[in-house]
């Protein structure tokens, strides 16, 4: 016999209702600590919640909805292409929806995709913290997973190790003698970008170094907009939360005859294809795009085909790609 919800409750030392709430992401009144205990018990016992009803209600349409925040960011274009390739091999076609980081549009897309009977959804970079989106998906028993960006209350998520990415960037700067640094984050407070900052800061803290913080749009224009402020700061290095912002700083530096990395060292994030075109080639944190896509495809198909399939989250490794945009101090 399989493991039951009772076993999990016993192991975690909580009530069955609590386990149920965690599994169904209705964790509003549960402390992170309790949640952690439940998730650990689920993992240890290899408990698989019974979602059977899910597969009984719907017919297969062989289509998947994919929400991305900005398709003109080459990172999301590459990710979308990888996902589409993987899903196509599995016999699915993908409707790609560009949400422009607008929660209103995210909601409309999800509703439209639901009414068009998609078999599943992959949601990247959702800005809306409203759980109504997830609630209506659950109600209709449409499998979905959160890719790249995520919310702490969500099961079924896949992302790269953003905290480790921030640590790698900080270590690289410290190894190169930088003590006055800046982190550039996003105006939309994505959790993955917050994690990059936390990782970065944790290493700086260890070395008793302060670090500055700025927000901007996650675009090339976003980088150009903050350049003036950045160039006036008493810093020697910037860690940008994506490559496009770094490229925007390159643009502004060229205009002001500042040299990179002579006047300012820069690290990006994502390793989009154009990081090896800019001069100097941009040092950056590589996200495992193909692995993210493969894992997402694998788990989503399991969720579609196996009624009781459950996974908590997958965290994939990142790496530093050292090129020419960081100078030794």
């Amino acid at each position: 016999m399989g493991v039951t919800i009772k076993d999990v409750a016993k192991k975690a030392g909580v009530s069955i209702a609590t386990v149920s709430m965690v599994v169904n992401d209705k964790a509003g009144h549960i402390t992170p600590k309790t949640k952690r205990k439940v998730l650990d018990a689920i993992k240890e016992l290899d408990y698989r919640p019974n979602f059977t009803a899910r597969s009984l209600v719907r017919k297969a349409s062989n289509t998947i909805g994919l929400l991305v925040p900005d398709i003109t960011n080459p990172y999301f274009a590459e990710l979308a292409k990888s996902l589409e390739t993987a899903l196509n091999q599995a016999g699915y076609i993908t409707f790609l929806c560009n949400t422009f980081e607008e929660s209103e549009r995210e909601k409309r897309y999800v509703n439209e995709l639901i009414s068009r009977a998609v078999d599943g959804l992959i949601i990247c970079g959702l800005t809306s913290l409203e759980t109504t989106i997830f609630a209506s998906l659950k109600e209709r028993r449409i499998p979905y997973l959160i890719l790249d960006n995520r919310f702490s209350a969500e099961n079924f998520s896949i992302h790269a190790d953003d905290f480790a990415g921030g640590e790698l960037a900080a270590k690289h700067l410290i190894e190169n003698g930088h003590t006055k640094t800046l982190f550039v984050g996003s105006q939309n407070h994505y959790i993955n970008i917050e994690q990059r900052y936390q990782g970065f800061k944790s290493i700086m803290d260890k070395h008793k170094l302060e670090t500055n913080y700025l927000d901007t749009e996650l675009t090339r224009v976003g980088g150009q907009k903050i350049a003036e402020t950045v160039f006036k700061m008493d810093i020697t290095a910037v860690f940008c939360s994506n490559d496009l912002i770094a490229i925007g700083l390159y643009d502004a530096a060229a205009k002001q005859k500042l040299t990179i990395p002579g006047d300012l060292s820069i690290i990006g994030y994502d390793n989009i294809t154009f990081t090896s075109i800019v001069k100097p080639h941009l040092t950056t944190i590589q996200q495992p795009i193909h692995m993210l896509a493969e894992k997402a495809c694998y788990h989503l198909l399991q969720m579609i085909h196996t009624p009781d399939y459950f996974f908590y989250k997958e965290i994939l490794p990142v790496s530093l790609v050292s090129r020419d945009s960081v100078a030794a101090q």
Copy 2:
């Protein structure tokens, strides 16, 4: 009373059946000259074919399907974003479908979009010359238009003036003293790219200059792949049919310590955002992305809302963006 099909036939000096065939794109047995006469008569008389039945059959779903060949090409990412913005303002959401230049996938997407009751389709860069796709859209009276790439037999198309783009590139090279040139086209024989070549060649012909021709993939890798061949040719300048190919040549040139434009002048096509990042900044032909998107949105909405709406094609202007990748000989 409005103009009738009889008036058009009389004006063009052809039968009513011939006019009907042109209007319904069943122009298989009609010579281009006859077709031209019919289209001129339609325009002169402002004739509007009666497509009333179209709007009676279907309910509005407020969704549009958009097919693009490669979302990782920043040109198509920008175009998709512009289209989505324009359509969203008009109250529509867009399902973006990435066809990877595979005709099998194009057909699947169109069928899926049909079965999901989209109100209209915008089709970019279709590789499939099979008219079955268009036939099934017509049968179901789903309005669609061809954007960017197109087929000579199609009405309802919008594209930039590719022939003029080719001419501009050729004139620019000749003005800079280049007599030994190369055109790089696509392995998939898109008509728009063929037109760029024809425009380029027409100017070279006028100056009694020969030009070389090569095909490759329309990607950065496509440029890298042909680089060795290109660098061995007895030429001083290359006109690439898109910017990504040009960037691929930049990559290979850097590896082989060739300088651009010292050793080789290069012109791209599209003016994607990264042309102003590469060093030297890439001289290229600018496509009017926002205008293409606005026109496409305008016409498609007319087609959806006005049963008898008809337009033949719109050709939008291109321009040369002269930067640093062409040297005077």
